[in-house]
Amino acid sequence: MHIMEGFLPPLHAAAWTVVAAPFLVIGARRIARITREQPQAKLLLASAGAFAFVLSALKLPSVTGSCSHPTGTGLGAILFGPSVMAVLGAIVLLFQALLLAHGGLTTLGANIFSMAIVGPWVAYGCFRVARPMGLGIAVFLAAMLGDLATYTVTTGQLALAFPDPASGYAGAITKFGGIFALTQIPLAVIEGLLTVVVVNLLVRY
C-alpha cells in the first residue's frame, strides 16, 4: 500500500527517510561488496529487481473485485535475504513512483521503510522460524505476515501523521487499521497462496 506523493507532512516525510537510511546504507554496502567480488551479480540483481517491478505491476486476482498487486516482498526476502532486498525494493519503489505514479518521491522514505525494510525482515524472520513446519507453511506465513506487517506499519505511519481530533492516535489507528483490515487481509492471504505456488514450482525446476 503506497503512501502517495505529498500525502505526508514534510516533517514526517523527512523523518521516515532518516529512519530508512541506515538499512539502505547497510544494504548498499553489502551490494557493493558482493559486486566487487562477483561483477556478474550486478546482472543477476538487476534482473531480479526488474522481475519484482513487473510482478508488482501485474494485477492480482481478487475476491472483492477490486484490483491489487502482489508485492513480492516475501518472495524477494526468501530468495535474496532482507538486507539486499531493502536496496532492490527501494529502487523498485523509485521506479514505481516515476513510471507508474504509484507512491511518490517525498514519501519514498516512508514507503521504503514499510515495504522494503519491515515487510522483508518480517517475512524473512517468519520463514526462518516456521521453516521446520514445512516449506509450504513457512512460505505462506512469510509472505502473508510480511504483507500484513507492511500494512500495519503503513497504518502506523498514517496515524502518526493524522491523529484523530477527538480520539488521538488510538482513534486514528482504529480508523486506518479498519480500512486495511477489510481490504488488505484477503490480499495478504492471496499473496501467501501465490508465493506458495511460485516457490513450489521453483523447487520442482
Binding site: M4, H102, F176
Partner: protein, 250 residues
C-alpha cells in the same frame, strides 16, 4: 505498457538537459510542501499542468490519465481524515471541522505534489534522473544496478504481457482458483527466465569486454541559462504568489 515512459522520451523537452526540468518540478514540489497548501497548491497544479501540456507538448489526456489513479486513491482516503472517531462511550463517527480543514489541506497538497511528480516523469526518462542519485551518496554499484534494471524491466514486462495473453487465450483467468494458479505459474516462469536472461546477458556483455563496471558515455547536453532563468522566475512567482495569496485569505 508504461505509457508515462513513452511520453518521457518523445515530448518536446526530451532533448533538453534534464536538470532544467528537475529544477522546475523539484522546486515546485518543495514549495508545495513548505508553503501554506490552500493558497500554494492550486498555483502549483496550474503551473505544472501548463508546463507539461503547453511547454513539453504532452497531451492533456495523458497528464490526466497519469494523475487519475493516485488522485482516486487520494479521494478514497480523505473521508477518513474528515471523519473523526469518538472512542468515548459507544464508538461513533462524526464529521469534525478540524478534520475537514486537515483533509482540504492534505488533499490539495497531495494533488499538487502529484502533479509535480507526474509532470517530471512525463517529461524526463527515469534513466536520466537516476545518475543524479550519485550526488546524494548512492554507491556506483547500486546506480549501475538501477540503470540496468530500468532497461531490463521493459524486457521482462514484454514477456509478462505476452505470457498473460497466452494464458488468457487458454482460459487461465476464468475463476478465482485458476487465476491464482495461472499467476503463480506465470510468476515462477518469469522469475526463472529472468535469471536465465541474466546469465545470457553475462555472455553478451563479456563479448564486449565487461569486467565489472557498466560504464557508458551519454551524449553531452548543455544547460540552457535562459530556460534555467525561466524556471527560477516561475518558482519565484509561484512562491511569492502562494505566500501573498495566503495573507489575503487569512
Amino acid at each position: 505498457m508504461l505509457p508515462i515512459d513513452r511520453f518521457a522520451w518523445t515530448n518536446r523537452w526530451s532533448s533538453h538537459h534534464p536538470g532544467e526540468r528537475m529544477l522546475l518540478a523539484g522546486g515546485l514540489l518543495i514549495l508545495t510542501l513548505v508553503l501554506p497548501p490552500v493558497s500554494t497548491a492550486p498555483l502549483v497544479l496550474i503551473t505544472m499542468t501548463a508546463a507539461t501540456v503547453l511547454g513539453a507538448g504532452v497531451p492533456v489526456s495523458a497528464f490526466i490519465r497519469a494523475l487519475a489513479v493516485p488522485a482516486g486513491f487520494l479521494l478514497a482516503g480523505l473521508p477518513f481524515i474528515v471523519l473523526s472517531l469518538d472512542l468515548d462511550g459507544a464508538p461513533s463517527l462524526v464529521v469534525s471541522a478540524e478534520g475537514a480543514r486537515m483533509a482540504l489541506e492534505v488533499g490539495l497538497r497531495s494533488l499538487a505534489a502529484m502533479s509535480c511528480l507526474v509532470g517530471l516523469s512525463l517529461t524526463t526518462p527515469a534513466s536520466e534522473l537516476i545518475p543524479w542519485l550519485r550526488r546524494v551518496g548512492v554507491p556506483q554499484a547500486v546506480l549501475e544496478i538501477a540503470l540496468l534494471m530500468y532497461r531490463l524491466l521493459f524486457v521482462v514486462a514484454a514477456r509478462a504481457t505476452a505470457g498473460r495473453e497466452a494464458q488468457e487465450a487458454r482460459l487461465g483467468y476464468t475463476s478465482f482458483g485458476r487465476s491464482v494458479r495461472s499467476l503463480g505459474l506465470l510468476t515462477a516462469a518469469l522469475l526463472s527466465r529472468s535469471l536465465a536472461r541474466a546469465r545470457r546477458l553475462e555472455i553478451g556483455l563479456a563479448a564486449r569486454g565487461f569486467e565489472g563496471e557498466l560504464r557508458v558515455l551519454s551524449r553531452p547536453r548543455a544547460l540552457s541559462p535562459r530556460r534555467l532563468a525561466t524556471a527560477g522566475a516561475t518558482l519565484l512567482a509561484v512562491g511569492v504568489g502562494g505566500l501573498s495569496l495566503s495573507q489575503v485569505l487569512a
